[in-house]
């Protein structure tokens, strides 16, 4: 069972990574316009 000593903290690290990703996107304004983003994906200006 000693493997748990590595695996559980590893899983926690992955979770923390997700949490920081959330906080980053929050601060970067990713959630400021929830409707527009859904439509923007259909724009093909760059193609």
């Amino acid at each position: 069972m000693n493997i748990l000593v590595f695996l559980v903290p590893l899983a926690l690290m992955l979770g923390l990574f997700g949490l920081f990703a959330f906080i980053w996107s929050m601060k970067a304004g990713q959630f400021d316009d929830l409707e527009g983003a859904a439509h923007r994906i259909l724009n093909d200006d760059d193609v």
Partner: protein, 742 residues
């Protein structure tokens, strides 16, 4: 004969030069200028693309980004190549009317708070999930073959996650609890903070003692559920605030400021300060409070005082924002409220009304006041009781703390915010914007609805009252003639008739009317006396005393238009609905008796008072209160503001004057009165749901507490009970927004 084609004022190109948007423009770090625009008519992805592509083609424009969620555009440009005015013109050319605005302090504060709560929620969510992962392993292991070492390891890991997470995510609750305790009061956050702290502390001690049970998961899950409620509440509040800011920007109030060198600059109201000179032309709405310096005119103050008859305006007279300048250009010296003016009187009354308004204790706080002592005393009694039974202080303490954990007001904390959010959403759909959550509870207590007349029961704009009696082609002709005139009545007539092409050879004779030749016959639109219809006019005035008359002659045909403030289209049905629902209805108006009587009779309202001053409106509301009635005041004028603040709860139409809107608890949008009825219905339903939810929470405690007292509560049971009760309460709250409520 040479004809001079003079465009009417409404079609002339608006003043393009001398517009000053500097109050709205921000400097960004890299030498660019930025501005936020509220844009009318953004509906879909196509609009978004049209705006972004259209603006993007403009040289000097760095970025244009549409926010579809709140119908705004943020633009950044190089100030050396482009002016803000040019950007607005460009948007206008694409087909969107844009109005610059700056988000106010309040909106920014709401937004910051929402972000903070969301981060707290994220932290609590992360912690709750990971601790639950460890806890489930422990529970499963306790039932089978987990070694004490592994269990301790998992408990320590849980502690490592839970303690920092709770310290961070619990801040909103701890802060609020400390604030309440400092004010020597108890709110819901006190038992929440206590429960979380005790659960964490006990779990650490238990972990040190290599015990089987720790309650880290309960503490963090509790925070997570409660934060969900707070975030929902906050996002609703922020959305409401954003819509309110947009609407304020869409009103786009500007003033023509007379500069010292004699030139005229169009400035947004925000940039005008006391002492400035402002020019108001005939037919324009006055946008400032001040004293007339020069000019003679008549003023329609109906939106401010309720009085529908025009007042004479001469140098030295007071004018108020929201009044309509009817005849000649006025130069107005802007000033702040001074003693002795109507504005100052209203502000004093407003202050007094706000101070004396009995403090409404929110349902949640009343529940907390009952709940906290009961729970804490129960826990203490359990501790002493078990101690007396001789099970030892350690076990007794653990049982007492589990009582606190299991009763921690998870469901109670969600019971009211969840309903508020759902009900505010339902009101949003019914075009009512709330200023705060407790408005719903106050709406539910209302039994008497008091209306102002002018601008509230009636539409703020004049319309043709007798349109049914006049031949359609005469209405159309009158509209086309009216387009040539700058007189506000003529402009209202033009708007009401839907005419859009002026007659080419029409000319206006000031003070009389408009002359033209139409289909070979002479046509005239103007004063009834000038058209030889004086006698008919007298008869019509007797029938509708608050109307203003305009006569039309064309060849040998004549028509007499009665223009006035018509009742809102659904006023009668809304009043009937309110009556059927058992509300007492009353009109308190500042207008003259004859006009109020007509409106009251048309709506079937028996109790009405006219010619009231602001103080008299408050007196009537106080009398109603003394009789034990809870009142909803609906009003829009400057003179209604104190009454709006004094009533139990108050509503304003969106066209209302600033002072009135600031005093009102909620604002409704649109031409109809239906939102008033909807607000009352949703309020009643919401209150019922809140009470139901509180009873559900009580029921939950009635079952959970005895189980905890007997010492049967394991962390598993605590987790199930907490999440179960929260989900039930939230699901019940969703019913508050059902269509039937509208």
């Amino acid at each position: 004969m040479a004809t001079v084609l003079s465009l009417p004022a409404s079609l002339a190109p608006p003043l393009r030069d001398g517009r000053d948007f500097s109050v709205f423009v921000r400097k960004t770090g890299d030498g660019l200028a930025a501005m936020d625009l509220a844009v009318e008519g953004i509906h879909c992805a196509a609009c978004m693309r049209a705006i972004e592509k259209g603006l993007g083609a403009e040289p000097g424009l760095k970025t244009a980004r549409v926010n579809l969620g709140n119908r705004r555009v943020r633009v950044e440009w190089n100030p050396a190549q482009l002016t803000p005015g040019r950007i607005l013109d460009k948007l206008d050319a694409i087909g969107f009317k844009a109005y610059p605005f700056s988000a106010d302090r309040l909106e920014n504060a709401e937004k910051r708070e929402e972000k903070r709560l969301l981060v707290c929620l994220g932290v609590a969510g992360f912690a709750a999930m990971n601790i639950m992962l460890l806890s489930v392993s422990v529970w499963a292991g306790n039932a089978s073959d987990i070694t004490p070492e592994t269990r301790d390891f998992f408990h320590w890991l849980s502690a490592l996650i839970a303690i920092p997470a709770a310290l961070y995510a619990g801040q909103p609750f701890f802060e609020s609890a400390i604030r309440a305790l400092k004010a020597r009061a108890v709110n819901m956050d006190v038992p929440i903070s206590l429960g979380v702290t005790l659960a964490l502390g006990m779990s650490v001690v238990e972990t040190l003692n290599h015990a089987e049970h720790a309650y880290f998961d309960s503490a963090v899950m509790l925070l997570f559920f409660l934060l969900v409620g707070r975030v929902l509440e906050q996002s609703m509040r922020r959305r409401t605030r954003a819509v309110a800011t947009n609407l304020a920007a869409l009103k786009s109030e500007v003033a023509q400021k007379l500069m010292p060198d004699g030139s005229i600059t169009t400035l947004p109201i925000a940039a005008i300060s006391p002492g400035d000179l402002v020019l108001v032309r005939a037919g324009e709405r006055v946008s400032v409070d001040g004293v007339i310096e020069a000019g003679q005119s008549e003023i329609d103050a109906s939106l401010v005082t309720g009085e529908t008859r025009p007042l004479i305006a001469a140098p030295g007279a007071e004018v108020y924002a929201g009044t309509l300048n009817l005849l000649g250009a006025l130069t107005i010296r802007v000033r702040a409220a001074e003693a002795g003016t109507l504005l100052a009187e209203v502000q004093t009354l407003l202050q007094r009304a706000t101070e004396t308004r009995s403090v409404y204790v929110q349902l949640a706080d009343r529940a907390a006041r009952l709940y906290a002592p009961v729970v804490h005393v129960t826990a203490l009694l359990m501790f002493l009781g078990w101690l007396a039974m001789g099970i030892g202080w350690h076990d007794a303490l653990i049982i007492a703390i589990t009582v606190l954990i299991i009763t921690c007001p998870c469901a109670l904390g969600l019971a009211i915010p969840a309903v508020q959010v759902v009900a505010a959403g339902a009101l949003f759909k019914n075009r009512v914007l709330l200023n705060s959550g407790d408005v719903l509870e106050r709406l539910a207590s209302v039994d008497t609805v008091v209306f102002d007349k002018t601008g509230t029961l009636t539409l703020p704009e004049a319309s043709i009252l007798n349109i049914g009696d006049i031949a359609p082609e005469m209405v159309a002709l009158a509209g086309r003639l009216a387009l040539t005139s700058r007189h506000p009545l003529a402009q209202a007539l033009a708007k009401a008739s839907g005419a859009d092409i002026p007659l080419p050879e029409a000319r206006e004779e000031a003070g009389t009317g408009v002359f033209a030749i139409y289909n070979g016959l002479p046509a005239f639109l103007g004063k009834p006396e000038a058209a030889g219809l004086g006698a008919e006019a007298q008869g019509m005035l007797a029938a509708c005393p608050s109307a203003s008359l305009i006569a039309l002659t064309w060849g040998d045909q004549t028509a007499l238009f009665a223009l006035g403030q018509a009742l809102r289209p659904d006023a009668a049905t809304t009043i009937a609905r309110l009556k059927a629902a058992g509300y007492a209805i009353e009109i308190l108006s500042g207008d003259h008796a004859a006009a109020v009587k007509v409106a009251a009779e048309a709506l079937g309202i028996k109790t009405y008072t006219s010619g009231l001053k602001p103080a008299e409106k408050i007196a009537r509301l106080a009398a109603l209160k003394a009789e034990g009635h809870a009142t909803l005041m609906v009003g829009d004028g400057l003179n209604d503001a104190p009454a709006l603040a004094a009533a139990t709860v108050s509503l304003s139409p969106i066209e209302a004057t600033h002072v009135a809107q600031a005093a009102a608890d909620a604002v409704f949008i649109g031409a109809g009165l239906a939102p008033v009825a909807a607000a009352l219905m949703v309020g009643r339903r919401a209150k019922a749901m809140m009470l139901q939810n509180l009873w559900l929470a009580v029921l939950y405690n009635a079952i959970a507490v005895p189980v905890a007292i007997l010492g049967f509560v394991t962390p598993l049971i605590a987790a199930l009970a907490m999440s179960g009760s929260s989900v039930i309460v939230t699901l019940n709250a969703l019913r508050a927004g059902k269509r039937g409520a509208a």
